[in-house]
Structures are given as C-alpha cells and as structure tokens.
C-alpha cells in the first residue's frame, strides 16, 4: 500500500470480437468486428471482461496490415523451438510427441521446494573435495563413485529420503522412470494384499506396471477392442474414432434411454451392452477404500509428513498424500514462439530458432507505432506545496501530467476523451485540460542532449518549476520535439461505503453496500485516444520513404485505462 506506480493500459480491439470460426451468426467475417471508432459504447476498465483485454504497451504487438494493436490473447502462436529451461537443450518435435513435454535428460526440480536438483554422489556428499566439476582426469582418478542421488541446493532434500538412488550420474530420467514403475508396481501389490479386497489374485497374476502411462495404454486398448467388437464397421476406422456417430452406437444409446419401448419394438436389434474394464490387465485401478494404511501413516508422520496442495499439484503423477510419495519433477519444457495476426495471418514477431540466440527476425511492437503514455503527479510527493503521501485525499483536486511520446516519423494529431466521472461505485471527477494536441515527429538522429537544451532554454517551461506556471485549460503543459505533456485533474471520490442519496438514484437502483473490493480504491480513468497522422504510402514497408510523394491519412483509436493512485481511506 505504501507506494503505487501509475500505469497506462491499452485495450486490445479483440475485446469485442469473437474468433471467426466460433461467431454465433456464422456469416460475419473475422475482419468485420474491429470498429474502434465506435465511441458510442462505454468502456469500464473495471468490468470483469476488461481484465482480458487491457495490457501495458510493452505487451502489445502491432499489425501493419490491419493498422491495429494486437495482444497476447488474440495473436496466434506457433512453436519454433522447444527447450529445457535448465539444461537449455533443444528438444525435437518428434521426441515431444513420444516422450512428452518434460526434459528427459537429468533436469529435475525438488518435490518439496521446486528448487533445482543436482546429481551428487551419495558417498561423497559431505566429504569429497570436488564433485565432477573440474578436470576430467581428476574426476576419474579420485572422482566419487556411486550410488548417486539428486540433491536440492535450496532445502537440502535429497532423493535418498524416498529411497531413490542411481547407479550412474547420467540419464537420470530413464533410471528414475524405471525405478518409479517398479515402485508403483510393488506399492500397489503391497497395499492390495494388505487390503484383502477382491482383486489381489488378479493383480498379482497380471503383474502389470502400475504407472499412469501403462494404465492408460491398457485402458485404451481395452476400449478399442470393445468398440471394434461392438461395431466392426465404425470401430476399425481410425484409432481416435470412438464410433459415437455410428448407427450401432446410436441405437445402443437410444435403447439405454428409452428402455423397453425401443427394444420391444425392435426385439431383434437389441445390442450387447459394452462391458467396462474389470481387471488390472484391462487397465482397472480399484480405488483404495481401505484407509487404514493412510491413517497409520498420518499417525506416525504427523501433519508435517503430508504433502501440501502445492506440492501435489506439481507432481507428474497424481495421488501423492505424504511427503514420501513426492518424486523429483522433471522440468517442463519451454518454447520460443512465432506470433501472427489473428485476422491477416501476417507474422508479428518471430524469434531466432536457436535457444542461445536472443535476436529476433521480426518484432512489430506497439511501442514503435503508437505513442507511449507516462503518468506522474504534477507536483511530486514531498515537494513544497505538494502532497505529503502517495494516497489521494478524497474530494481534494489533484493534477497529473500525462506525457505522450511519439515513436513514428510523422506528426500525430491526438484527441483524447474521458467520461466526466470514473465508472464504478466510487465516481471520481475527471477533467482533461487539453484534450487535443499535436506531437512532433520522431527522428532518426534523435539526440537527447538537443532536447534537453531546448527545455533548459526557457526556465518557465521547466516541469519541476511548478509554482510559476498556471495550469491553463486548452494548453499543453510542456512539449519537446516528439512529446507533449498535458494535465488531467482528478477529484477523488470518498471511499466511504454509504447509501446514495435518494435524489441521485435512478429508478429502481439498488445500493451496493458491500465491503471495499480489491483495488476498488484505485482511481482508474478510462480514456479514449484517437490518433490521426499522414503517412507516406510506403511507410508501411519502411523503404524509399523519400521517393514517394503520395500521402495517406491514417487513423487509429483505442481505449486506455490510466491508473492514477489509491484513495486514502481517511
């Protein structure tokens, strides 16, 4: 609460668009939805929907063909590279399909604290001088021998706590999965014999690996045979075709729902009911209804011995209850991705494919196309005559400077609009003192010192010298070569929760006297920004700008949400 950083979020036009394929009327094309000039509509930055479309300018891309901003929610992504965030090795697409989305080398996270695990020799953990890090001859001569364990450098957990040791320090993933399936197998057999339920003989006879993967595979093959037996015509198609659309399945479902009527009408077509898996060989995993072992575990290990919700959630396999059920977590792979415009499919950003290369082949960021907005109090906190706290005092007018900086090589005409009061329960009054202005063009030989010199020439204009200058309506506060500062005045509302006077109420309006909701004390101003500039026809490609004389008028408009500050609760 101590400090609040003012922010400016831009609304992506995708907020009121429906992806083309899913549009309810089906007729509208994906391009027809973007109508940013539609300023009839109100914009409430607090509405739950707005959450998904407001982004800082750094997060937005710009499509030169559609002339609009694009956010991370609406762009379409294509994976360029998959890699492990720990060993930074690239993983091929085919291996992801077969091995899954985790690193299959030796990269693991601690099951207790998610810190990185490193391979260490069990023998030498406390005593050996140099485990495997220096010269190779050193390692072979006096290098530590197995068994090896995974150790967490953050919480000091190590895999011997769950009885996991490795024969060699490489290929830990493969060794661990072998150990794991063996463990589960043993574990399930142990519990089943202890339970004395109806399945032990079957399970012991089958001796199936107990891993989720193996169970899924056996379930899948079981149901596939069931379906092909039931309906040979449809079941033999593709493996992913479950045959629900087939006439056989339909009649079976109909008979289930309509009961006797259908079967009596057509007695000969009564289908055989599909059987469910009922042995472990078929993939059945009986629920452990007998909790005696769990209870005795709880009694001996206590609360500290149980796994937390967070720890269970990051486990690869589900069902862990005690800390001893928690296994090292292989790192989930990360990706480098290309982003495309959702409507014209042009590439908006494309990274170099190599993991080690941090350059980008393409990066059309919004910050290079539309003005950035920075917000700061006109009189800084602590300055003479200024506020003494970062909180806004209710009903006391306060002025903020909005600075617009132009990144493009053309002069931009900016028109701003805000509602007179902020939406929501606590309506603060907002006045834009200069809603219309022009920002000069950016230039290639942009020189910081020159700009500074301009500003220093006229001490009256120095922004820090606030006492000498009057805030005038309709006038820019300050400007430079490619930036303009304007003043916005805010009269913060009181955030006391009290019923509205009846005279101000609309017909049928009900008071909302609920407690203060999260961030409801922030003054957030919806502001509509309209930009107008003349672009050379070829500005789009950035080539031969000088050659072409033809100028084209361009327009862009969008909503922004400006977070000014928190209102003091008094």
């Amino acid at each position: 609460m101590a400090s609040f950083t003012p922010y400016a979020y831009i609304q992506c036009p995708c907020v009121d668009s429906v992806p083309g394929s899913r549009s309810p009327d089906g007729a509208s094309t994906p391009t027809s939805h973007s109508s940013p000039e539609d300023d009839e509509r109100d914009f409430d930055p607090r509405s739950p929907r707005s959450n998904y479309s407001l982004y800082p300018i750094e997060y937005m891309l710009y499509c030169e063909d559609c002339h609009t901003v694009r956010c991370e929610r609406c762009v379409t992504e294509e994976v360029v590279t998959l890699y492990c965030p720990s060993c930074l090795f690239e993983v091929g697409n085919s291996s992801v399909k077969t091995e899954g989305n985790r690193c299959t080398r030796s990269c693991f996270q601690c099951p207790i604290c998610i810190g990185p695990l490193s391979v260490q020799s069990l023998e030498s953990t406390p005593a050996a001088p140099e485990p495997s890090l220096l010269s190779a001859d050193h390692a072979t001569a006096t290098g530590p021998a197995g068994p090896w364990i995974l150790c967490c450098s953050y919480c000091n957990w190590n895999s011997s706590e769950i009885g996991v040791k490795f024969d060699k320090p490489q290929g830990i993933f493969a060794q661990l999965s072998k150990l794991r399936s063996g463990y589960d197998n043993h574990h399930s057999r142990y519990t089943s014999s202890g339970d004395g339920d109806t399945y032990p003989t079957k399970r012991d006879a089958d001796g199936e690996p107990g891993s989720t993967k193996a169970r899924f595979a056996s379930l899948k093959s079981f149901y596939q045979t069931q379906m092909s037996n039931e309906n040979p015509n449809s079941g033999l198609g593709s493996t992913m075709d479950y045959g629900y659309g087939s006439p056989g399945a339909l009649s079976r479902i109909m008979s289930l729902y309509s009961g006797n009527t259908l079967s009596s009408a057509k007695p000969k077509s009564k289908p055989t009911i599909m059987r469910e898996a009922d042995t472990t060989k078929e993939g059945l995993f009986p629920a452990k209804l007998d909790d005696t072992s769990v209870m005795s575990g709880l009694r001996s290990a206590g609360y500290d011995g149980t796994a937390t919700r967070a720890q269970v959630n990051v486990q690869v396999e589900e069902g862990a209850r005690f800390a001893t059920d928690l296994w090292p977590i292989p790192y989930v792979l990360r990706t480098k991705r290309t982003k495309r415009c959702p409507s014209c499919r042009h590439i908006l950003s494309k990274p170099e494919a190599k993991v080690s290369n941090t350059r980008w082949r393409m990066r059309l960021i919004a910050g290079n196309y539309i003005p950035s907005i920075t917000i700061k109090p006109l009189i800084p906190v602590g300055a003479p005559g200024g506020p003494t706290t970062h909180l806004l005092t209710p009903v006391k007018p306060v002025q903020y400077l909005l600075t617009f900086k132009n990144p493009i090589f053309e002069t931009i005409k900016v028109t701003l609009a805000t509602p007179a009061v902020t939406p929501g329960r606590f309506a603060s009054k907002v006045t834009l003192l200069c809603p219309q202005f022009q920002i000069g063009a950016n230039s290639d030989d942009y020189n910081l010192d020159e700009v500074l010199k301009d500003r220093d020439k006229d001490p009256q204009r120095k922004r820090s010298d606030t006492t000498g200058q009057q805030v005038e309506a309709g006038k820019e506060w300050d400007s430079g070569r490619n930036w303009v500062s304007v003043v916005v005045e805010v009269v913060p509302s009181s955030i006391q929760i009290e019923p509205k006077p009846t005279i101000l109420k609309k017909l049928g309006e009900v008071d909302d006297l609920g407690p203060l909701r999260e961030d409801e004390d922030i003054v957030e101003i919806p502001i509509f920004v309209h930009l107008e500039w003349e672009a050379s026809a070829d500005q789009v490609t950035g080539k031969d700008r000088e050659d072409k004389e033809t100028k084209e008028k361009k327009e862009l408009a969008y909503w922004c949400a400006l977070g000014i500050g928190r209102i003091s609760p008094e």
Binding site: S86, T358, W360, L452
Partner: protein
C-alpha cells in the same frame, strides 16, 4: 567537468572509460576487478575482487596486473549499474570442502561475469557464475553459487535463486526459491537499457529525459 569548486571531494570517481564509482563504494582487491566502461557503482556496493582464483594471501603481490583475465575475479561489462549496498562475490568452488577434514590446498574461486546493461538492485547478493546481458536484478535478491542467468532476464525483488539454477532468456523469475513466473514481452526489451540511467548519476547528473 564538475561544477563544484576545485578541492572539494566529489561524490564519484569518474574514470577514463566512463565508469562512475562512488567514493563510498567498497571495492576489495581492485586489481582483480575488470570494468568494461560506463558502469556505475553506488555507495556501499561491494565487489570482492580479493576472491580471485589464487589464494588471497598471494593476491596482495601486485604482479597480477601484467596478465589480466587469468587472475581476474570479477568481470563487469558496459553500462552496468550496481545499486547501494549490493555485493558481488565470486563463488568459491571449494565451499563443499568446508566440512571436509582435510583443508583444501588452494582456493578455487571461479570468476564472476556480468554482461552489459546489468542492473543489480539494492542489497542484492550476487554469487552467480555468470549473468548475461540485459538483466535486471531486483532489490534484496540473493543469487546462489553456480547459478547462471542468461540474457534478458528480470529477477523480481526479494527473489532467492538457489545454487546451480539456470535461468533461461526472456523469463521473469520470482519467489523463494525462484521460479519462472512470466515471460519478458516482445516490447519489453528496451526497458533493460541502462544508458539513460547512467546519465542521471555521477558528479554532473543530467535530468532524466521524457
């Protein structure tokens, strides 16, 4: 350069290559510290150059100046910014031997490398093996031994990066222990540039431009 009258001690020592080092900075073993230029070191920041590869007792003999690199403990690139009270400490590869009965024969400090445009926040402790370029390390961050931070990484305030951790490029990390909490957006690369910040400190600081 300075507007202050001659004879008054300036707050910063400004070197030929443009480094601005606060007089109150605490640089130990300066002959083992290499600055790439235009780096700012604020007051109370500490760099342990004395933790060089050789035993610290022999480092006092100033013959090491002839071969830089071989015996340098801390490499810092251009436009780095070391905030108040931060500490750069080369990691000691022999720490694991501390509990051993036999004392290690030599100290095996591995050099600590910082790329360009690395911001180290207030009171942060950096013992990493390497930090890439365009990295922002927040306030009170602790970076453990052997950790490697790649380019374009943002480490949020109060994060603890465990020893041996590798942080890939374009990630935002936070937490104790650190975990990846986000991605650096495409438009966020320029925010790592420290040229602007460099100008605003020193004996003759320039006001921040708009």
């Amino acid at each position: 350069m300075s507007r202050k009258p001659a004879g008054v001690r300036t707050e910063y020592i400004e070197t030929e290559t443009g480094n601005k080092v606060a007089r109150k900075a605490n640089l130990v073993g300066t002959q083992h510290i290499m600055l790439g230029g235009k780096t700012v070191i604020m007051a109370d920041a500490m760099i342990r150059g004395d933790l060089a590869r050789t035993a610290p007792t022999s480092s006092s003999s100033s013959s090491s100046g002839t071969a830089p690199g071989s015996n340098t403990a801390v490499f810092i690139g251009r436009y780095c910014f070391l905030s108040k009270g931060c500490c750069l400490r080369p990691r000691d590869a022999s720490t694991r031997a501390r509990h051993a009965d036999d004392t290690p024969s030599a100290f095996t400090y591995m050099p600590l490398r910082l790329g360009d445009h690395v911001f180290v926040g207030e009171s942060a402790i950096v013992q990493a093996a390497a930090i890439g370029s365009h990295v922002h390390v927040g306030k009170n961050v602790v970076i453990g031994e052997f950790a490697i931070i790649k380019d374009f990484v943002r480490v949020l305030d109060d994060t603890v990066i465990p020893a041996n951790m590798v942080i890939p490029s374009f990630t935002v990390v936070a937490g104790q222990p650190a975990r990846i909490v986000g991605e650096v957006p495409e438009g966020g690369h320029e925010a790592f540039e420290l040229r602007e910040l460099y100008r605003t400190v020193g004996n003759n600081p320039q006001p921040a431009s708009v």
